[in-house]
């Protein structure tokens, strides 16, 4: 049954007074609504991950391996040697606190251990104790803490209250990437079998079938066929949707939620219309049928394992380059890790738009282009006919999804598209967009029902920025380019700012796109009648 939701007024009253007991005390209370279920034994067994067992974080006994402490310390040593960034981030923080009030989870919870500086200190104190001379000799005086079972539980709690969004890193004078500290924290927890269901089940599905949802090839085809039928009803045009077609020029990879959930599906319709209209020779793959990579939320090894399939399929199908959909963390993996993880992808070519001739040199290492870059280029070259009045029922703002924004610097392309397909577009306040964008509060595998309270707390700063434009401009739609956003912003906004919908950039493009030979449109992509709809600036 739908969970009892906490009262918004209660969650909005945040206490910023630190608790009496000091930060060294690691004990945490696993309170319902603020943590996630543990991963099921069968998924760990399938993936070959350590310590599969039936357990939950609320259990007193976590059934850790007898030598768990040695496993963690060996794991830390190994990572300190392998990743210079990790050692650097452990050493250089001066605890200036510039990051503290930049974290949406701290703003929403008031818990000091949700300030990025203190969240990192939870692991840094253990680093000091076992890996620095000062910490070994002077212990607590040098900021060191012993590694105990309570510390491990504290890590589990707080490293799953960080969405790896990297807003704090923007403000760090040393450029410490706190998301990478969280990643290492989760990776160490994985070594002793402490991981969450919402991450490990999608990983297992993706590894086995090719996508997080576990949709098999015949289901994939059934969904895309349905989309083609529906597009024909909407526009009178039958688009071709090739799957596993060898020799196509481009492989198109989208998040699986685009062909499963709502409102994601309307974005899928938008892509299909654009690709048809631009005349692109492309194919989907029924195996590389997932852009997302929940491996990123578990470990580097798992990230690499899942990322590899896109390139394996690109090779098998003989395409020239890869086009990627409105996916969030896929772009952090592709833009920042792929080059050395599974790349460089020398067997592919630098992406060139067949419609405009634009050569995308910035993608010369990964050979992978974001669909917003591709579409913005089409529009800039006048290749798409657009009628923005077909979006007049929408008054839109744009939520920069964390990973495409801070993970790859994609700020202007989605805005170029939106300004051309909308008559009513207003930005949220400057300090909440572009590189300073505020997280949805549910990324990095935390978008679960059981974690509802923490998600609403973490997403509140974003919701308040939406509320600002709603009041000032009458905004009724948040556009975004991430599948997690499309899944988790609707309940967040319903909770804090009722009456605001969520749409993908390509859904709005699809509404405005005038296709050659289309019959007069009577509805938008959602099937809502176009005539007589309200909207406009308030």
């Amino acid at each position: 049954m739908a969970q009892q939701k906490p009262d918004p007024a209660q969650l909005a009253a945040v206490e910023y007074i630190p608790p009496r007991r000091g930060w060294r005390d690691p004990r945490v209370e696993f309170r319902k609504g603020t943590y996630n279920h543990a991963a099921a034994r069968r998924h760990l067994e399938y993936l070959g991950l350590p310590n599969p067992r039936d357990w939950q974080p609320s259990d007193a006994d976590w059934q850790l391996p007898a030598n768990w402490k040695q496993i963690i310390l060996d794991g830390m040593k190994d990572r300190l040697e392998r990743y210079r960034s990790f050692r650097l981030f452990m050493d250089i923080c001066v605890r200036c606190g510039a990051c503290a009030d930049k974290c949406h989870f701290y703003l929403g919870s008031g818990d000091p251990k949700n300030t990025p500086v203190l969240r990192a200190e939870l692991i840094r104190s253990v680093y000091r104790r076992y890996f620095t001379a000062a910490g070994r000799l002077f212990g607590p005086l040098a900021g060191a803490r012993d590694l105990t079972e309570d510390v491990l539980k504290e890590w589990f709690y707080y490293f799953h209250q960080c969405t790896e969004c990297r807003r704090c890193s923007v403000f760090c004078p040393f450029g410490i990437d706190t998301a990478e500290i969280t990643m290492i924290g989760r990776e160490l927890l994985n070594l002793v079998g402490c991981n969450i269901q919402w991450i490990i089940e999608p990983v297992a599905n993706c590894d086995r079938v090719g996508n997080h949802l576990g949709i098999q090839p015949h289901g994939f085809k059934d969904s895309l066929d349905f989309a083609a039928d529906e597009l024909e009803e909407l526009t009178g045009i039958r688009v071709e949707i090739p799957i596993n077609r060898k020799g196509a020029e481009v492989l198109f990879v989208v998040p699986s939620a685009d062909y499963f959930g709502l409102p994601h599906y309307f974005t899928l319709l938008g892509y299909l219309m654009m690709l048809h209209e631009a005349g692109i020779d492309y194919t989907f793959s029924a195996y590389a049928s997932e852009g997302g990579n929940f491996g990123l939320f578990a470990s580097h090894e798992m990230t690499k394992r899942l990322n590899a399939k896109m390139y394996a399929e690109a090779k098998r199908l003989g395409v020239k380059w890869i086009l990627g959909g409105e996916c969030g963390h896929m772009w952090r993996v592709v833009h920042q890790y792929m080059g050395t993880m599974n790349g460089p992808a020398d067997f592919l070519e630098v992406p060139v738009s067949p419609a405009t001739g634009t050569r995308f040199d910035h993608a010369s290492s990964t050979k992978m282009l974001h669909v917003c870059e591709f579409t913005a280029d089409l529009i800039a070259h006048g290749k798409l006919a657009l009628d923005p009045s077909r979006n007049d029922h929408w008054n839109v703002t744009f939520h920069d999804s964390c990973n495409p924004a801070r993970g790859m610097g994609l700020y202007e392309e989605p805005r170029l598209i939106l300004r051309r397909v909308l008559n009513h577009f207003h930005e949220m306040p400057e300090e909440t967009i572009r590189e300073r964008t505020l997280c949805c509060g549910s990324g990095a595998g935390l978008g679960t029902d059981e974690n509802f309270e923490m998600r609403m707390r973490g997403g509140r700063p974003r919701a308040m920025a939406v509320n600002y434009v709603r009041k000032r401009h009458g905004t009724n739609c948040v556009a975004c380019i991430c599948a997690v956003d499309k899944a988790t912003l609707p309940p967040l906004l319903e909770y804090w700012v009722p009456g605001v919908e969520v749409a993908g950039v390509h859904e709005l493009l699809g509404n405005a796109l005038v296709m050659k030979g289309e019959h007069p449109r009577t509805t938008d992509l959602r099937g809502e009648p176009l005539e007589g709809m309200g909207g406009g600036d308030a």
Partner: protein, 105 residues
């Protein structure tokens, strides 16, 4: 592994109350699971959705797209939410004995 007792029947379920083994499903199971969604007596429309989900699952091993579920049964999304307050994926799928959809959904 948690179990749940409903109308005198015991079921192995996951932490979210979804059936652990989707194959151990019949109409009695559906009626019992429906009570956990606040549904005392399933209506004809609710059965229509549940049976559709069940057939689709047996053919494709997954729930259908939400849009397809709505359209092929002639319901708007808000009507599905009225029938199953937790929604199509979390409410209707649970009653139909399907696993909970995961990922960016």
């Amino acid at each position: 592994m948690p179990t749940i007792e409903l109308n005198g029947h015991t079921y192995a379920v996951d932490e979210d109350g979804f059936l652990e083994d989707p194959m151990l499903w019949n109409e009695q199971v559906a009626a019992d699971l429906a009570t956990t969604e606040g549904i005392a007596n399933m209506t004809e429309d609710q059965w229509k959705l549940v049976n559709y989900l069940r057939h689709y699952y047996l053919e494709f091993g997954i729930a259908p797209m939400v849009r397809k579920l709505c359209k092929e049964n002639g319901f708007k999304l808000n009507q599905v939410y009225e029938m199953f307050p937790s929604g199509p994926a979390k409410g209707a799928c649970k009653v139909a004995g399907l696993p909970k959809p995961t990922g960016c959904v």
